[in-house]
Each structure stands twice: as structure tokens, then as C-alpha cells.
Amino acid sequence: MDVDTGNMTQTNLVDKVVVPGDVVLDLTKMENQTIKLGSGLRQDCDYISVMQAGKLRLSKPNKYWVESSQKRYVHRLEDTVLGIVVEHRSDNFLVDIKAPNLAFLPVLAFEGGTRRNIPKFETGTLIYARVVKANGIMNPELSCTDASGKAAEFGQLKNGYMFETSTGLARMLLSSPTCPVLEALGKKISFETAVGLNGRVWVNASSPDDVILVSNAIMRSEFLSGTQQRIMAEKLLERLQKS
């Protein structure tokens, strides 16, 4: 019986909005369990307390995290991000990824990269890359290859239009099944997009009209539900007589 009430109190804050300072887990009541903490939670002696305001989520059996949406990004391992090249040093590019520190992109971290064919990225180039080293204190490191060394769509993004969003919207665009707004737009227009988990989205299509339409639809869809997104996308398409 004690275990039951203990379990109930442990999880009664899940899926509720929590603010910094709230205590969500009491470790003294949970023995011999491994708990994985995601973003927004920290361990304070025997308690797990909240660092950032947001919704507390639990992925059974033992992963807890706080879901929140910000304009800035905190770098995490294996995230795909869109960065803007700020400077070119001798052995890496300095890339801005909206994180507290600038990221390093080694000059050789490309498919088939050798000292002889170093890509020439000027300041302001948009790069789609993957975070390979991220311990909170040092500058994160990026790479333009996937785990096996192939290019896999990473690298410079040419043409198109990039806009900034919140991290929450970026996560929603990348969720599976496909985000409703992208699905509704994809039925009538052909376009390509790259979404960075750091809150940057790049859109490219054959005509500027399409690029503007897709970008506006994405920007407006942040707080809408699935059906509302579909209705909004269809209204936009109708206005431009694409249907």
C-alpha cells in the first residue's frame, strides 16, 4: 500500500505545467531504479527539481523531461541543426547555432574531406550539420557527415529562404507522423525544407511565391492543432488559387 501511494505521488505532476523550484521526484522513495533525466530537470540531493518552466513529460519506464519552447537553443548530442558560418579559422569554421557558445565545424568533417579539398564557406553561409560533441561547458562541435562518414544531405544549403522559429515549433515540424501543415502543403506544392532543432527552418521551392507561402504557413502553425493547421494551409492555398 505504501508503495502504491508512493507511486501515485511520484507521477501526479506528469503532463502538468511546472515552474522552476517544483519538486517532481523524491529519490528516497525510489530505490534500485535508474531514472533518466532530460532537459529542464536537475538533481538536488535527494530530490529532482525543475529548472525551466514547461510541461513535465514521462516516457515509460523511466525517462523524465520538461517540454518547453524557447528562442535560444541548448546544444545536445546528435541534434541536427542549421548554423551560420561566422568565421574561418585554420582548422575549423566557427558556426553560430543560437546556443550560448559558438560551435566549431572541423574543416575535414565532410565526406571525402582532405586537406586539399577544404570547402570555401564565406561568412554567412547556411550549413545543415549534426552535433557530435556537446558537453555543456565547452564549445560544441559539429560535423557534416552522418555516423558512417557519408554526406547524407548535410552541408551547405543553397538558395531558398531561412527563417527563425522557436525550438518547440522545430520539434513539432520534425515529429512523426508528418506534421499536418507540411502534409497539407505537400499535397499541392512541391518544396524542400530543412529543419534545425535549434529553431531555424530553411525552405526552397521552384518559385518565390511558393517559398513565401510555405514559410508563412509554417510560421503561423505554431500554436494550432492538427485540424486547424490543415484548414489554415488550405485557406492559404485557395487564396493563391493553387487548388
Binding site: T9, L13, V23, R42, M51, A53, P100
Partner: protein, 242 residues
């Protein structure tokens, strides 16, 4: 107990208002109003690098106070210093070392209790920006009348008339899954105090009375802050659908 000019009783606060994410370019922003005192706070950061005198192993904060009119003088510098130390003690400074977070406070209306309003606004803006914090801070002003009674949330005319008053900042009351029985041997967190600024001379007993009343009222403000943080997500949904 004499009547206050705006008809409130001694323990009544002015109507509170809080809206977040109002500035497009700022990474976090909030507007806090207590009656006619309105303050707008914007947070930028964390950005890399610290200033010369700061410890690079911790995150540092920089506060800029912009008054409604007039030039920046000693009073503004004092407010900046108090705000900076308050924010440093509620934020977790070891999460992003060697970074600077800038907080810019703009006074939109001043009708007394300016510093508490600014502290509440900055705290809400920091939450909006996602800066890691230990807990929230709620702030209130308490004044001591001649006969020893306490009034809360002073207006400008009351501040000018009173002999002594204090601005107090308390931690908010957290939601917790720990049984209250289990932890009754420790003081609950809301019994702590973060900042206290007093003006004028008051007897020690008067000061402790101010603390008691202020702490009791801070529970109400803490509840309001929590509700406004929760309401935000559903608000955005109705706002964006227009």
C-alpha cells in the same frame, strides 16, 4: 486604521497583470503591472563571454535599468545592483559558465513599489527565456505606519508620506511531491528571504512584522505567477488562431 487613498485595506494588493513573450527580438520578455506601476523586462542570452571583473566559472548577469524619463543616475545604478544580486541568487550559475545574460528593465509607469514590480517582471522574463533557475522570486513592498500597523503594496504618495518602508523578495512556494509530513523538520522553502531593502528608520519589531505580512502576501503573488505561467500556452493557441 485610516483609509488608504485608493480605498484598499491594509492587506490588499493592487490588481496584478503579467504578460510574457511580448517582444519579438528579445529571447525572453515580460510586462508586469501592479496598479499603475508598469515595468517591461527583456532578457537576452545566454551569450558567450563574460565581462572583465566577473568569474568565468559562473554565468554572469548584466542589468540595465532604463527610467521612464530623465537621465540615468545613482538611483538607477542602485536598482541595477540590487536586481543583479537578486537574479544571481535565484538562477543556477553553474549550468552555462562563461556566459553573460543581459536583463534590460524599462519603466513604463511609476506609481510606487517600482523595485518589487521590476523584480517580478525580470523573474517572469527569465522564465520566458528558459534560463535555468532554482526557484522563482516574488517581491512586495511593505510600509510601517506611525501607529505600528503595516500596509502592503505602496503607491507613490504612500511611500512619500510614510516614515519607513521596505521592499522584500521571497522565494515562491513550490509544488512538491514530497509529503509535507516527511519534511516537516525542515523549514519550507518559502520561509527564506532573498532580498530586503529598507528605507527610513523602523523598530526591529516593526521590521519583523513587515516580514510576516510580506511573506503571507507573497503566497498570493506566487499563486498568480504560477497561474499566468500555466495560462500562457492556452493563450497562445487562441491568439494565433486569429
Amino acid at each position: 486604521m485610516e483609509d488608504r487613498t485608493d480605498g484598499r485595506n491594509a492587506n490588499q494588493l493592487r490588481p496584478l497583470g503579467c504578460s510574457r513573450n511580448i517582444l519579438n527580438r528579445a529571447h525572453g520578455s515580460a510586462r508586469w503591472s501592479q496598479g499603475n506601476t508598469i515595468v517591461l523586462a527583456a532578457v537576452y542570452g545566454p551569450k558567450s563571454g563574460t565581462k572583465k571583473g566577473e568569474n568565468p566559472e559562473k554565468a554572469s548577469f548584466e542589468v540595465i535599468w532604463k527610467p521612464k524619463t530623465g537621465q540615468i543616475g545613482k538611483q538607477e545604478r542602485e536598482y541595477e545592483m540590487i536586481l543583479k544580486r537578486t537574479l544571481q541568487s535565484i538562477c543556477l550559475v553553474n549550468v552555462h559558465p562563461n556566459t553573460t545574460t543581459s536583463v534590460i528593465v524599462q519603466v513604463v509607469g511609476d506609481d510606487g513599489s517600482l523595485l518589487p514590480c521590476a523584480i517580478n517582471a525580470s523573474c517572469a522574463a527569465l522564465v520566458d527565456a528558459g534560463i535555468p533557475m532554482k526557484h522563482l522570486a516574488v517581491s512586495i513592498s511593505c510600509g510601517l505606519m506611525e501607529e505600528g500597523s503595516i500596509i502592503l503594496d505602496l503607491t507613490k504618495s504612500e511611500e512619500e508620506k510614510l516614515k519607513a518602508f521596505a521592499y522584500l523578495v521571497f522565494p515562491n512556494s513550490p509544488l512538491s511531491v514530497i509529503d509535507k509530513v516527511h519534511s516537516s523538520k525542515e523549514e519550507p522553502i518559502e520561509h527564506g528571504i532573498i532580498t530586503s531593502v529598507s528605507y527610513g528608520a523602523m523598530p526591529v519589531s516593526g521590521y519583523f512584522d513587515c516580514l510576516e505580512r510580506g511573506r503571507a502576501a507573497s503566497a498570493a503573488i506566487s499563486e498568480f505567477l504560477r497561474r499566468s505561467l500555466q495560462k500562457q500556452s492556452s493563450d497562445d493557441a487562441s491568439r494565433a488562431a486569429q
